[in-house]
């Protein structure tokens, strides 16, 4: 089973040299810590940064330099600031190569719900709807089941949708899956996790073809 950093490490293996990447809040943010050595990846923050770097050193934080999660960050050499309209031109215009975000539910058709729990949580969608509607490649980083032990990989989402038919890949603490026309295709098992464990935790249609390899991270 993977911990949060393990999930981030597995997603980092999907990065390619020259990629522009937008990372969502939570586990996705950790992916930045595991960019393979020698690979050049540029992080986009939708509030207006391309070339976002790590947190500043203590005492060097700048109120004018924050990420989309409102955390103080730094800009790397060669980076650029821009406004929100330009930022979403990058996103809707499919100039961002990879989007990694969290989810509350994903359906076997690639629908995603991650912005609202009616009557309980009203925070808003932020940039998530723009991102999922346009990204060429979306990887969801999430736990396989919610806190109540219910599967988050479903035949259909039950929560209000963020986008439809958009999720391409999912990495959970149990597995690496691809969303295909026929359902969730199991690509890899997390270390120490059996195919049966994954079957039990997946409510949506799971496709298992041949031997499923264990992840190497």
């Amino acid at each position: 089973m993977l911990d949060k950093d393990g999930i981030a490490k597995r997603i980092a293996k999907e990065l390619q040299d020259g990629f522009y990447v937008n990372l969502g809040i939570g586990i996705p943010t950790l992916v930045a810590n595991y960019v393979p050595e020698g690979m050049n990846v540029t992080f986009q923050s939708e509030n207006g940064m391309l070339g976002m770097g790590p947190f500043p050193y203590e005492g060097e934080q700048d109120a004018d330099v924050i990420n989309a999660g409102k955390q103080t960050v730094t800009m790397l050499p060669g980076g650029v600031y821009f406004d929100s309209a330009t930022s979403f031109a990058m996103i809707r215009g499919e100039h961002v190569d990879l989007t990694v975000l969290g989810a509350m539910e994903v359906s076997e058709k690639g629908d995603i719900a991650n912005w609202k729990i009616p009557g309980k949580m009203v925070k808003g969608m932020g940039g998530a709807m723009d991102l999922v509607a346009s990204a060429k490649n979306i990887i969801v980083a999430m736990q396989h089941e919610n806190k109540a032990g219910e599967s988050k990989l479903l035949p259909q989402c039950t929560l209000p949708l963020t986008g439809i038919g958009c999720v391409k890949k999912i990495v959970t603490e149990l597995a690496f899956l691809e969303v295909t026309e026929d359902g969730f295709k199991l690509l890899e098992r997390a270390p120490g996790v059996s195919v049966d464990d994954i079957k039990k935790a997946t409510l949506g249609k799971l496709i298992i073809e041949g031997e499923i390899p264990e992840m190497v991270i």
């Binding site: 923050s45 939708e46 509030n47 207006g48 940064m49 790590p54 947190f55 500043p56 050193y57 203590e58 005492g59 060097e60 934080q61 700048d62 109120a63 004018d64 330099v65 924050i66 989309a68 999660g69 409102k70 955390q71 103080t72 960050v73 800009m75 600031y81 821009f82 406004d83 929100s84 309209a85 330009t86 930022s87 979403f88 996103i91 809707r92 629908d111 009203v122 925070k123 808003g124 969608m125 932020g126 940039g127 998530a128 709807m129 723009d130 509607a133 346009s134 209000p160 949708l161 963020t162 986008g163 439809i164 038919g165």
Partner: protein, 233 residues
Amino acid sequence: MKKVYQNAEEATHDITDNMTIILGGFGLCGLPENSIAALVNKGVKGLTCISNNAGVDDFGLGLLLKNHQIKKMIASYVGENAEFERQLLNGELDVELIPQGTLAERCRASAAGIPAFFTPAGFGTEVAIGKETREFDGKMYIMERRFHADFAIVKAWKGDTNGNLIYRAATRNFNLPMAGAGKITIAEVEELVPAGELDPDQIHTPGIFVKRIFQGAKYEKRIEKITVRKREI
């Protein structure tokens, strides 16, 4: 026509009850904090505020919320504000949540004289309810409209007496597309200089979009989440 105003009170003097106001900033970053303070002091009520966020409990638009001066909030993300959630769940506040890119483009369209545009964001979700949808090149889009706001209030780093603006770092955010998005745009700046002192090659917002400009009395520039790393010794 007079463009330079002495302070926030003077620049916002004709903002009255029930008006619609567009306000710049992302979270607390690049927030027109002097203008917000003036609106709080003035006590105008029934406002419709269009801004990416709703501030935190004791700063930014949160100050107007606490005073019950906002009737309706149009935003993309309103977490970080317990008072907001309380008023919303109690039915004291009307809220329209819209995708962040759609919000930015609706502001840009408002400033640019574009009545409507098509975006894929929100297609197939509750955001699309009641909106025209159309297929272009095999993909589905929803039609979004411009805003009609009485005022737009933005914050820049430097400005000149012609209203030309330069933003610093990530404070461009919504300030840039919101400049010109209201019938009257007010810009507050950290430093106001005489026209001619800013390099025309470095200006982000041409002064034609700005009707009023003033230098803010003071900037707290509060940070919402301070995240740092330790120096390796």
